[in-house]
Symmetry: D4
Subunit: 156 residues, 8 copies
């Protein structure tokens, strides 16, 4: 199972693209609001119990001083994918730097700001699952081919 | 007592200026390395026990994806002062944004990047203590006067 | 009493969130337009008489070349909280840097750009008051719990 | 096997930290210079044959207009980790944006700029392998514990 | 013939200005969607067959992690003009840096972000063709004179 | 007389270029350290008495949260020229924005960051004096000619 | 007379604020579109004949790669005030840097981005004229007082 | 012939790489210091006589408020290549934006900041000449092959 978390209810507008894309790949997942700053205990519990609850990858979206992905990465050995959410003041640059500039030892796999990143978090999760599951790797391959034919189909 | 924490041993090079300035104001403090990413449990414990251990203000220095000040602010009702540490790649801009752009509800009192900020964290702590302690407020006033006379003394 | 000042009448759109949040904490405050550039004498008078008028913390919001918080901090030993107001051209980055990058000796406790920062200035003030007043510290604690339950209540 | 590629011989100064960290996790890997711009055919061949050659994850480091990670991600369904190399002119910001801002459909798991990112690329690879291999997940866990004790051991 | 390519169908909104301006100069051209990330094989084929198909200059527009212009430049000895497309999150700064910061040996002639750049790509192509064709150089000269008289005609 | 002020003794390293260039134009001037933050009263006095003391233009250099030029401009009707001093953390960008982004009504004539700006502050002062004094305007003209011949003399 | 020039007809939307403010100060001026890039000869003529035509100060507004103010400053010994016009892609940062970062020897007195800067260019011109004309200096003083009373009048 | 110009004698440190690379391609060229700001008449003359003097392409390097490439492009119908020179304060970002953000109608073919860009300006010139001269196109092709073999030769 893939755990999809976000720092605020309003982030769902972006993160629902992650969920939809995971559905497209047929990957089971749960979606939760877990705020690093408003529910830090829930964050700790979520991260520490993730492995035992069967979570294999965590996708975390957050904006502004985006601490959620990095703190989860500090509390679980699972791969954590971070999605910088675009906020009004700084277009998501603050979130991007808060997520990607992790210190040596605790990585967050950071993707693009906003909707593109939200979708790509799901694709990246599929690629990661695909390392051990040929059927999922095949789905990634098929998705790449669909994108290719889509470009050809809508050619100018 | 004021709690001075930093994300890494190497941050001491900057944060020792906080300690020295707190000494100048005669303010008791402890200094600890508490890494949000490498010692998250210590972070939680430190923040949750701060009040009961007699800490009144926390000063937290961190660089890069600087989550330490914000996470402490999420875990204690004490005022938290954040010092962005200058790192090699981005001159501390990443740390500044990671610290200052906190969501509504959980503030971090952010000061300048680097050594100036480290010193100012101590001065800010003195000003905060001074709200309730006239003697400390007086020391802040004296420090302001010393700065003034220093400018006059070293006039061109 | 907490002094809330802002550089321009139009900043009220942002700073009214400070006032509302201070009300939520039951903290007495006054709101004033004090322009560093258009009413510098009023700025000096405001800052110099703040202590004697019973002000304990100053919250100053300003945009662009935001000199108000720093100049007040230079003229009073009280803790000064700076709120960078988002302006049209630079999204508040200019205000953020003008407020946070104070030289050693004269700190401004800087919070996030815009509305989130305006709210957090009030919360930070409550935390500072809470250092000496257990009842206010308790209100901060309750506010943190309300935020937590709000996340749980609006869970996906 | 993990494929470690970099855009230029001079990137080895950074990417050798990836190799050393992979060794620390006991993860087999190969290191190659593959330039997107000077050896584009080698890039295509490398990416297209990666799966059949037994590569499971690609780690790609590049600076400036860093196209290597994204182009490999476009040519293979494997997970690709991108390391922004710090160059003299822009401190790696150009590389960071060139790597992370991928369009929907083709993700690159981006890590921090420079040496910290190079190390974290290896740790992230270990976390990804760990999804399917309990022994590697255990090594990640042990590494996290070593970091924790290291902080405690070098406490101020 | 001039080859006009763009990374996505949606880039046509910008790149149609290139096509219209090329028409104004009477320069034959073809327009194609060629995605570096979704159709990498088409990219390679397009670039490698460009010379033999009679293409003399390639104009490539792309946004975000804009790899299209640079990869074409790596695969053909023709001059390549890159147009950074403005995307929602970063105003095209990411695209600008991804296009212009090419390593020594493989240049992309980069023009301004967005519509102005799209038009200028066509003018630059006309100037390049004009090096060997006096009639096109004359058209560039006439265009410069038309711009001049347009300023005079709409004088305040 | 031209008043040259700077926020800190260490700014002299930059501002001595202003003084030297004013000497080159034969323009009388005084140099003073006036810190907006450490000597705010001196700032107010300096600005308010400038006209009566015979100052005709104020040149103010400052770094970081550079409030000195703008505050002087708020306190005197004289033209104020601002020189952003390069500081270690942000290369003077913070100073540039703090100086140039003044609100409507109170301008600061901002010049380039660092030494070039320090020199240009003097040249700008000479141009301003030259509006009313033909001999100074002539000196500006001569200086422009010397620069021209210097380029010709050191031609490659 | 003050010469007000702008790089494009569309800049009038911003620069009309300069004209209106100059009217408020009773300062004679002319407004012209002079494009550095589309009418370079007009630029040269305008700048070279400015002194003989009675222009005493030039105010130049431009956006993007804003070369107009700097080129005029290179061609006349008059003081030149530069107004960075906000363009769609980069909020005027490109214009600000293109105008302010002049090399040693040829200053442009740069004001804020957009409308505030356009107004301030006029105020700065009034301050400059005021150096030699007491009546204009008096008008600047009165304007400062009007701003002050306006703040008081619209007090919260 | 290719005209290589630069805004200052000190830019030769960067632009000599252009000259050396043009030699490598056997392309005749002249090198001149032409300052937009210190020798504006020389700039006009240089640009206006370039065609008649047999110049086919102009390569212009400049730093800071880099007006040289754009002004030459405004004064000649030849293709103009701009090289942003890295200056101490802003790493060449100011030069990059001043060069690349040209308005519609007057393009500058911008290359990377600093030495890489200086080399690439020469390669781009060779590609442009190659459009009409098969032998030069062949040299570009050979250079691409040499880069490829160089990567292979220095493989890890």
């Amino acid at each position: 199972m893939i755990g999809v978390v976000m720092g605020s209810r309003s982030d769902w507008e972006t993160m629902r693209h992650t969920s939809a894309m995971l559905d497209e790949f047929g990957l089971a997942h749960e979606c939760r609001v877990v705020s690093a700053h408003r529910t830090p205990d829930m964050l700790v519990t979520y991260a520490k119990t993730a492995v035992s609850r069967g979570v294999r990858i965590v996708i975390a979206g957050a904006g502004g001083a985006a601490h959620l992905p990095g703190m989860i990465a500090a509390l679980t050995p699972l791969p954590v994918i971070g999605v910088p959410i675009r906020s009004s003041a700084m277009h998501g640059i603050d979130a991007l730097l808060s997520i990607v500039q992790m210190p040596a030892g605790v990585p967050v796999a950071t993707v693009a700001i906003g909707e593109a990143g939200a979708k790509n978090a799901a694709v990246l999760a599929a690629r990661i699952i695909g390392v051990g599951h040929e059927d999922v790797a095949q789905k990634v391959q098929s998705h790449m081919e669909r994108m290719r034919t889509e470009v050809e189909r809508t050619q100018l």
